[in-house]
């Protein structure tokens, strides 16, 4: 009975997110005729690709009861190292791999801190945030790397008319969805995030799973670094500041619960597009910068209130505080 309730609750949550997305889409189309143009929709997807890929990494981690605040900084470090590798070797493949490898390396350090030394993920990845940013600035002496030549194909190119960032976005969506739904690793993430003690008792190798989770997140962050630098056609050591928060925002609006154990890839995608549509329509309509910030904040607040509201609806109040803690 409980399980049935839980399933229904998850279903309702998922359903509501898509409803919000569709309603928003319709409103946007009515407000501004340019919104529906193919170029605009492809723009939105390209603009969202980097933060959404980060959001998929964040989703996996949050489901497993972890967190990565270092994403933006590690993205910058992976990106500048990848760019500089391209500048010296002119090899697209090698520079791509360098970007991904740096992302994985930094996140394995995160994993060591979190899984082996039991540091709270918030603190551990906060430490990585400063270290990675420092390393990126040190390596470039704070200066932008210019004239990237063919490197721009990752972020600006297209295959069969589809922009490459969108292809990467779809690819990562499928990988995340498959990993969470159909692998032992995915199921153990839900178990660990739901209740770590129980997960250990049921024989899940929690430490190993946490290492894998950070490694996957690292690969996503590294890929984002390559896409980001390629899109802006420069190696920006000070780029992507606070991108981790945009990623977290997408995940949370998409129904991923900070208390762990709940979340889906498609929900995160919807969350990212809700934010993306809002930003886009506000720019198309020429809404003031300051107002945009207020609206964005209000949306996050509403999403979290909604998240807690759903729990309230299904459990007596006395149990809510326990669930939240």
């Amino acid at each position: 009975m409980k399980q049935l309730g839980l399933k229904w609750q998850q279903f309702r949550k998922k359903y509501n997110i898509y409803l919000v997305l569709i309603v928003l889409f319709l409103i946007c189309s009515v407000i501004n005729p340019n919104f529906l143009s193919i170029t605009n929709l492809s723009n939105i997807s390209r603009q969202l690709a980097v933060t959404t890929i980060l959001a998929f990494g964040a989703t996996i981690l949050i489901i497993g009861g972890m967190l990565d605040l270092s994403a933006g900084s590690v993205l910058a470090l992976s990106g500048v190292l990848s760019v500089s590798c391209y500048k010296s070797t002119e090899s697209l493949l090698l520079s791509f791999l360098v970007g991904v490898a740096v992302g994985i390396f930094c996140n394995l350090i995160n994993a060591v801190m979190v899984a082996s030394f039991h540091t709270p993920p918030f603190i551990a990845t906060l430490a990585m945030l400063t270290m990675a940013r420092g390393a990126a600035l040190l390596y470039t002496k704070g200066q932008n790397i210019l004239q990237l030549g063919n490197y721009v194909v990752f972020g600006q190119g297209s295959i069969f008319g589809i922009p490459t960032p969108i292809i990467f976005l779809v690819l990562i969506l499928i990988i995340t969805w498959y990993t969470l739904r159909h692998t032992r690793f995915g199921r153990s993430m839900y178990a660990i995030g739901g209740n770590e003690e129980t997960a250990i008792a049921s024989g899940i190798s929690v430490k190993k799973m946490k290492y894998i989770a950070y490694a996957i997140n690292g690969a996503f962050v590294g890929l984002s670094g390559v896409l980001f630098m390629s899109r802006v056609n420069a190696g920006l050591p000070n780029g992507a500041v606070n991108y981790e928060f945009q990623a977290l925002t997408a995940a949370i609006i998409g129904g991923t619960s900070f208390s762990g154990g709940i979340g889906t890839a498609s929900g995160t995608l919807a969350g990212a597009f809700i934010v993306g549509f809002l930003d886009n329509i506000m720019n198309l309509a020429g809404v003031d910068s300051y107002v945009q910030q207020i609206v964005r904040g209000a949306i996050i607040a509403l999403a979290v209130i909604y998240d807690i509201g759903i729990k309230n609806h299904w459990k007596p109040l006395s149990k809510v505080s326990k669930a939240a803690s």
């Binding site: 143009s37 060591v112 600035l137 704070g142 932008n144 210019l146 050591p237 720019n283 198309l284 910068s289």
Partner: protein
């Protein structure tokens, strides 16, 4: 194997932490001393001007606003290089991390450490003002730069004039931007001295004189190329016609150009920036960007060290100077590209 890897990674981490800590022990260990120094200083008469003392080497502290912003980083590097040319000056650079609190405590620490001269690149002029006054009260020379803090008696300053930097562009735009043009504007962070002064200059020197021009989009892109790209992509969607991009710095101008680079509709787009970054110079050379104003970190660094030297050796007591604000267009871009090439920035 996994344990071994974990140990190695952990080792690297510890090393990095130790290295990170060892660079700032002075600042933390002298915390109590700072307090007494500060209170003494505040009791001293405010008019007590720093006096030059003959020494073999003078210790100079440069408190940078932030080293994570590319112009500030360029300036810090240029000041380091310039200081190396002076045998009598030993320079230490500190990073304010774009944080008033952090920058102010770095200034206090530098006072405690009895530097002979402290150069402050404010994060926010008014927030650093009382701390620059403390420097002078402690009998230490103070120079404010990029941007200067005005009206502190006894302090010196070296700066560019942000109003003038934008104005040279705006005057050119008066002639170039067609009648009834539609333009978009990219702004720096709100409250930033240079961002505000440049925007005000465009208002007075251009928009007030050209009521026929319409602003079809205006956003804060925080000096960033990626944020500017996003806004430009959206503006291109919502407007049939954009004649000019008016950007408060070169990074954002380059971002706007990145969006329309393969779009023939925007071949005649006029794009104005400020800073004279390597990227902007190349874009001007290619004929894609219209104009920028050079804010040369090299010129600032040269003047700063010259000013420091004159103050320390007693040649002068107070100096306030500005660097030039040269307008760069396709006609004269080559000479500036040469300068950057010589300095190794290109």
């Amino acid at each position: 194997m996994k344990k071994c890897l974990a140990t190695i990674l952990a080792g690297i981490l510890v090393l990095a932490l130790v290295a990170g800590c060892s660079s700032t022990p002075q600042s933390s260990s002298k915390e109590p001393a700072k307090e007494s120094q500060a209170s003494q200083a505040s009791q001293a008469p405010a008019s007590q001007a720093p006096a030059a003392q003959a020494k073999d080497t003078y210790r100079v502290a440069y408190i940078a606003r932030a080293q994570a912003d590319s112009f500030a980083a360029w300036l810090a590097n240029a000041i380091r290089d310039e200081a190396a040319k002076y045998d009598n000056i030993k320079l230490d650079v500190f990073d304010g991390e774009a944080n008033d609190e952090k920058e102010n405590s770095l200034i206090e620490n530098a006072i405690t450490n009895k530097y002979d001269l402290i150069i402050v690149q404010p994060n926010n002029g008014e927030a650093q003002r009382p701390y620059v006054e403390k420097i002078l009260q402690a009998g230490i020379f103070a120079i404010t730069t990029n941007a200067r803090i005005d009206n502190i008696p006894g302090s010196s300053s070296v700066d560019a004039n942000p109003y003038e930097q934008a104005a040279v562009n705006a005057r050119l735009a008066l002639e170039q931007i067609p009648q009834n043009a539609k333009v978009v504007v990219l702004n720096g962070p709100s409250g930033n001295f240079h961002a505000d002064a440049r925007r005000e200059s465009w208002q007075k020197e251009f928009f007030d004189k050209r009521p026929d021009v319409t602003i079809v989009g205006e956003q804060i892109a925080n000096w960033n190329k990626d944020e500017a790209m996003k806004y430009m992509e959206d503006w291109v969607q919502s407007n049939d016609q954009i004649d000019a991009v008016i950007s408060m710095n070169d990074n954002m101008a380059a971002g706007a150009l990145e969006v329309v680079k393969d779009n023939p509709k925007f071949d005649n787009l006029l794009v104005y920036g400020v800073d004279g970054t390597a990227e902007a110079l190349l874009l001007i050379k290619e004929g894609r960007m219209t104009a920028t104003c050079m804010q040369s970190a090299y010129d600032l660094a040269t003047l700063l060290l010259d000013t420091a030297n004159k103050l320390l050796t007693g040649q002068e007591k107070e100096i306030n100077v500005d660097i030039d604000n040269p307008l760069i267009t396709k006609d004269n871009v080559d000479q500036y590209i040469e300068i950057l090439k010589k300095a190794g920035a290109l």
